[in-house]
Amino acid sequence: MKAKPIAFGLGVAVLVVLPFVLNDFRTVQLATVGAYFIAILGLDILTGHSGQISLCHGAFMAVGGYTTAILMANHNVRDLWTIPIAAGVAGGIGLLAGVPALRLSGLYLALATFGIAVVLPTILKKFEHFTGGSTGITLFGKPTQTGHGVGVWRLTNNQWLYVLTWSIGVVLFLLAWWLLGARFGRSLRAVRDSELAAAASGVNRALYKVLAFGVSAAFAGVAGALFAINVAYVSPDTFPIQLSLYLLVGAVVGFFGSIWGAVFGALLIQFLPDIVGVFPHVDTKQAGPTTFFFGLVLVVLMLVLPLLLRLASRISNRGYLGAP
């Protein structure tokens, strides 16, 4: 038996069992983890496999979240159907962003995407009639909510959100797994490792880099849509610059280039405040300590990761970040 299918089976089993064991509050927290998980999968595809950095995946999430919210609140579309539309809109914007990104090298791409993440909340506030401005859009109690606040089938509302998020999460994980193992993923890694060699082997470098942006943003769009459905509310502060940066932390925790680590990154984003609270003299009700430890985790990982990867590649004799 292969190790990966077993790990996948175990993971799904854990996901199925969890809502029976946990209380309602933890269940809805895990639903949010599912949304982060999907966004980090997307970031892994882009940064880990195609080598293009993005500091604006929170902004792509915002595009998805606002698409869902606007459709649900103003156009009477049921929440489930908004999810593929959110993926399409975010994916389309991702494709558009991917074209200028072709001309920017790593450093400047980081700079430009950082700028997008900083600017997006101000744009959301500016176009008030469309986005609800600073107050945002409330979805709670809207008839287009499937859970409607009371639950679906025999699940509580929170259990329903968990089932919805993680079913989509598992499907998207399988999709990412398949994509990255197929021609698409091989081409991305070839372009990442050497554009020249990839081009010489007949890989269309521009096409694959732009596609990576589109696919990755579509994942983030789904994540944003689910985020909006889970919280039943969107506002510019739902998708601050910090979200984009934390997603990067999550993706680094999950080891760039391995979608298997994404779940750890997602768990960290959600539960770091709780973990930090374990230390003495740390008040997690303040914003400072949690933020500090987020940064510290990222700094330490960046220092330790090269060593770990060197070790891992020596053990498996596979080369850095080799397998999907």
Binding site: P100, A110, V118, T122, L248, T291, F294
Partner: protein, 293 residues
């Protein structure tokens, strides 16, 4: 007309701050080839240090000098502890690490000093002076003068001193400069130290007009990036001129293009960054980098 002049003058004043921070960014970029995303937060931390010293009864200038000294040391230390170990790795790794520093330092300042804004009494009075219907303050003038003094010092350092020559040599070719007896690692650390000190100047100059709080430099960082990109990313003079230009352009756009207003200033800066990077990556003052494919 008076309004136009007024907008230009206050644009120059805020532009001076963007220019100072851009100068720090350019310095690190020039000596190590990295964009330091933590530069704004480092500046805020320095401003808080200065505020704390003054809160303990120090006068401004000694507190400022001590802050510069401490920031320089902090920059050296930061380079030695967290940057050096991955210096030879991919640049993107170092950039991600500076993003980690951004988050960590922001958390640290919030943790220590709390989120509430603090009044910061700088060396220059903020009381308005009126000349022919145009209001400005000594603070505004002071910022612009300080920006030009800083760029003069940096330019002189690079052009006239052995240290500056060594810094440039390491930036161009670390291996060969080591062969002629320059300690490359020391030079990289000095680059970070200098940038941290320059950032401290930016933070302390910004604090009186922006009010001191942990997120003070967060938007300024984007403006400083825009200024640095506009100035060509490796020219100190370009950074300061880019900053002043940006300050004026933002103010005029905000005043005369009514749909931009105050809210879309950041968007204008982003558009400028993207425009310059896509159309003329070497900016106004930079040289076009040549490389082999």
């Amino acid at each position: 007309m008076a309004n136009f002049v007024q907008q230009v003058v206050s644009g120059l004043a805020s532009g001076g701050i963007y220019g100072l921070l851009a100068l720090a960014i350019v310095l690190i970029n020039r000596s190590t080839g990295v964009i330091n995303f933590a530069q704004g937060e480092m500046a805020t931390l320095s401003a808080f240090l200065c505020w704390t010293l003054m809160d303990h009864g120090w006068a401004f200038w000694p507190a400022f000098a001590a802050t510069l000294f401490l920031s320089f040391g902090g920059g050296l230390l930061l380079e030695a502890v967290v940057i050096r170990p991955i210096q030879n790795g991919p640049l993107v790794g170092i950039v991600i690490l500076t993003i980690g520093l951004l988050i960590a330092i922001n958390g640290l300042t919030t943790w220590i000093w709390g989120g509430a804004a603090k009044q910061f009494h700088g060396p220059f009075s903020t009381a308005p002076i009126r000349v022919g219907g145009v209001a400005f303050s000594k603070q505004d003038l002071g910022v612009i003068v300080v920006a030009f003094v800083a760029v003069g010092l940096v330019a002189a350092l690079f052009a006239r001193t052995r240290l500056g020559l060594a810094l440039r040599a390491v930036a161009v070719n670390p291996l060969e400069s080591r062969l002629v007896g320059i300690r490359a690692s020391t030079m990289l650390a000095v680059g970070w130290g200098l940038a941290a000190a320059l950032g401290a100047v930016a933070g302390v100059m910004a604090a009186p007009s922006l009010f001191l709080e942990p997120n003070m430099m967060q938007t300024v960082l984007l403006y400083a990036f825009a200024a640095a990109v506009l100035g060509g990313m490796e020219s100190p003079l370009g950074a300061v001129v880019g900053g002043l230009l940006l300050g004026v352009v933002l103010n005029l756009a905000g005043t005369y293009v009514h749909w931009i207003g105050g809210e879309l200033r950041l968007a204008v800066a982003l558009a400028l960054i993207l425009g310059v990077l896509l159309v003329r990556p070497s900016g106004l003052f930079g040289r076009t980098a040549l490389r082999r494919a």
